[in-house]
């Protein structure tokens, strides 16, 4: 500690005294330092060591004023008046920060506990007749809700903490009497502390938490391995159907192109060939979704399936109930069947959670976007490009052609392309393998192929593309061509793995 630190700390400790008095006392100590430094050739540190520590000095001094140390512990008990500046500052904080933080936190807290109440309908699973899967789902959800409850408690504490801090801030600004005492009492209010003080409650909380983790783990795993059966079971339970049809015979005759535009939240999308000359749009569902529209427009020749997606994820719409969860397991299915003779124009399919499947189609361009759910493109001929953007999906393209580029990007999933013919390929995944098989076999006219993965192997089998660039951080690269006379400008790079194959 040097002189300035010492004096500053002493000043702080003497905060209860009025300014003039404090200043005079500090002057003594300043002089005391000069005395040591200039007259006795000591360093600041040496003087500090000679002196008592600031809090002891302060206690001695205040003792002479008849002030007991316990009154001095809080610096805010100064005798100074309320400052206008700090009131304005408080006003600003109130207006711009607390005015929305407190209601928001309150809303979130209520929503969290409301979500916990969503546990009640879970009981219907085990009342009356029940299957093994019902019981499994019941225990899994019990675990989930215990974890949710724990999380809700944390949120509640956060809310209480914010309230306390803002209350203290107000009391301090207006220098309300006895606020130190009040703050102390207030500080004791919090859920975590409440539980920690009661040993039985604490051990109960810990026990249920561990149990919840186990439940989620064990039954989650069992549910996952039985996912197909469960899917079948619940799918067969409820299924409503809505069908829209349009006789497109004339359009087939006059070869009028149509446009398909699908943009939905959590639905499975299937685009297939119709067996008749009718355009058929089918929706299988359990419950009417909000803001949903499905339309075959014979003037603009457009099929559009739209859903207003709530993009505000922070609004905490946590009205979790069993139906919502079942919907995650079993999403609505949109099936669009197009007559064989109809060529589709630019086609865009977009869903958040749901698989997308396109089979047997001729179109100008295809764009697919989703987050979760497999993407399958089969027997699709495009005039230009196919673009697939996904996040957690396996992507499979088979028996398809295009004169432009096949672009696939996914973060966690496998990419497999087979028996297809495009000019350019651009394939990119973070965690997943890339399998390429029988590409451009007939014409051997592929121009370029870029395939990149961070974790996963890359396997090429009979890929006849002029320029191939393969890159993986962890995984082997294998490239074999039956026709070895085909000349490939081949570059590859693997961080941890070997490069094998008959193409070099």
């Amino acid at each position: 500690m040097n002189k300035n630190e010492f004096l500053r700390q002493l000043e702080k400790e003497l905060g209860i005294l009025d300014k003039v008095e404090r200043k005079e006392l500090l002057d003594f100590y300043e002089e005391r330092f000069y005395n040591g430094i200039y007259y006795e050739n000591k360093t600041e540190q040496e003087v500090v060591l000679e002196l008592e520590p600031p809090h002891v000095i302060a206690r001695n001094i205040l003792d002479q004023y008849g002030i007991k140390p316990k009154h001095v512990s809080r610096p805010e008990e100064r005798y100074e008046g309320v400052k206008l500046g700090s009131i304005i500052w408080l006003g600003c904080v109130d207006l711009f920060l607390l005015s929305w933080i407190i209601p928001t936190l309150f809303g979130v807290t209520v929503a969290m506990f409301g979500a916990v109440l969503g546990y009640l309908p879970v009981f219907t699973l085990v009342i009356g007749e029940k299957s093994t899967y019902d019981v499994m789902i019941f225990w899994f959800l019990t675990g989930v809700f215990i974890l949710l409850f724990n999380f809700a408690l944390v949120i509640l504490d956060l809310f209480i903490w914010t309230l306390k801090k803002s209350l203290k801030f107000h009391l301090d600004t207006f220098k309300v009497r006895r606020r130190a005492e009040f703050n102390k009492k207030m500080n004791r209010i919090n859920v975590d502390g409440f539980i920690k003080k009661r040993k039985k409650l604490l051990s109960l909380k810990r026990l249920t938490f561990i149990a919840a983790l186990l439940l989620v783990g064990i039954f989650g795993f069992r549910l996952a391995i039985n996912a197909d059966n469960i899917y079948g079971l619940y799918v067969n339970q409820i299924s409503l159907t809505e069908i829209e049809t349009y006789d497109a015979s004339d359009d087939v005759l006059n070869s009028i192109p149509w446009t398909v535009d699908v943009d939905v939240d959590n639905m499975k999308i299937i685009l297939v060939q119709s067996e008749t000359n009718e355009i058929v749009v089918t929706r299988e569902y359990q419950e009417e979704p909000i803001d949903f529209s499905m339309e075959i427009n014979d003037v603009t020749h457009t099929i559009s399936v739209m859903q207003e997606i709530e993009d505000n994820y922070w609004s905490f719409n946590l009205d979790i109930n069993l139906e919502e969860i079942l919907r995650m397991i079993k999403p609505d299915v949109i099936t669009i069947a197009i007559p064989e003779g109809i060529v589709l124009q630019y086609t865009e399919l977009e869903t958040m959670n749901g698989t997308i499947k396109v089979v047997g189609m001729t179109m100008i361009e295809l764009v697919i976007n989703n987050v979760n759910g497999a993407v399958t493109v089969e027997s699709v001929d495009v005039l230009t490009n196919i673009t697939i953007n996904s996040f957690n999906s396996n992507v499979q393209v088979e028996d398809s052609t295009g004169s432009g580029k096949l672009f696939v990007k996914t973060a966690n999933g496998r990419i497999s392309i087979a028996e297809s013919d495009f000019q350019r390929y651009e394939l990119d995944t973070e965690n997943g393998r890339i399998y390429l098989e029988e590409l451009n076999v007939e014409n051997k006219d592929g121009v370029s192929l870029d395939a990149e993965t961070s974790n996963g192997r890359i396997v090429l089998d009979n890929v006849y593309v002029g320029k191939v660039d393969l890159e993986t951080s962890n995984g082997n690269i294998i490239y074999n061509n039956e026709d070895q006379s085909f000349d490939v400008d081949y570059s590859r790079n693997t961080g941890n793995g070997s490069t094998t194959g008959n193409v070099n």
């Binding site: 007259y39 008592e52 001094i61 004023y65």
Partner: protein
């Protein structure tokens, strides 16, 4: 020596030191500390109090060795107060001695 006892007489002791010769704070402390061990931090509030009550006055004295120091000089009021205190102390001393002695010989 008991802190409580020291406390009661400290004001008088400080005043008498100033009466002998004008002194600065640390000097007064060192002087008294040579006879009875006291805490430095008790001296300064006393000096402040004495000044405030007009029993002594202060002035800065320049020095070649370092910054000026604040010297305490006893005032006329201080001299008379010191006289009173000394009389009181004598009386007190006698009373206490008597009490202690009677205690011992009883």
């Amino acid at each position: 020596m008991s802190t409580q006892l020291k406390k009661g007489v400290l004001e008088m002791v400080v005043l008498s030191k100033i009466a002998q010769k004008d002194s600065y704070g640390y000097d007064i402390y060192q002087y008294i500390d040579g006879y009875m061990v006291i805490s430095e931090s008790t001296i300064y509030p006393i000096l402040r109090k004495l000044t405030k009550e007009g029993l002594c006055s202060t002035y800065l004295r320049e020095s070649n060795e370092g910054p000026p120091r604040k010297y305490f000089k006893i005032s006329r009021l201080g001299i008379s107060r010191l006289g009173e205190l000394k009389v009181d102390w004598k009386k007190f001393e006698n009373v206490v001695n008597t009490l202690i002695r009677s205690d011992r010989y009883e």
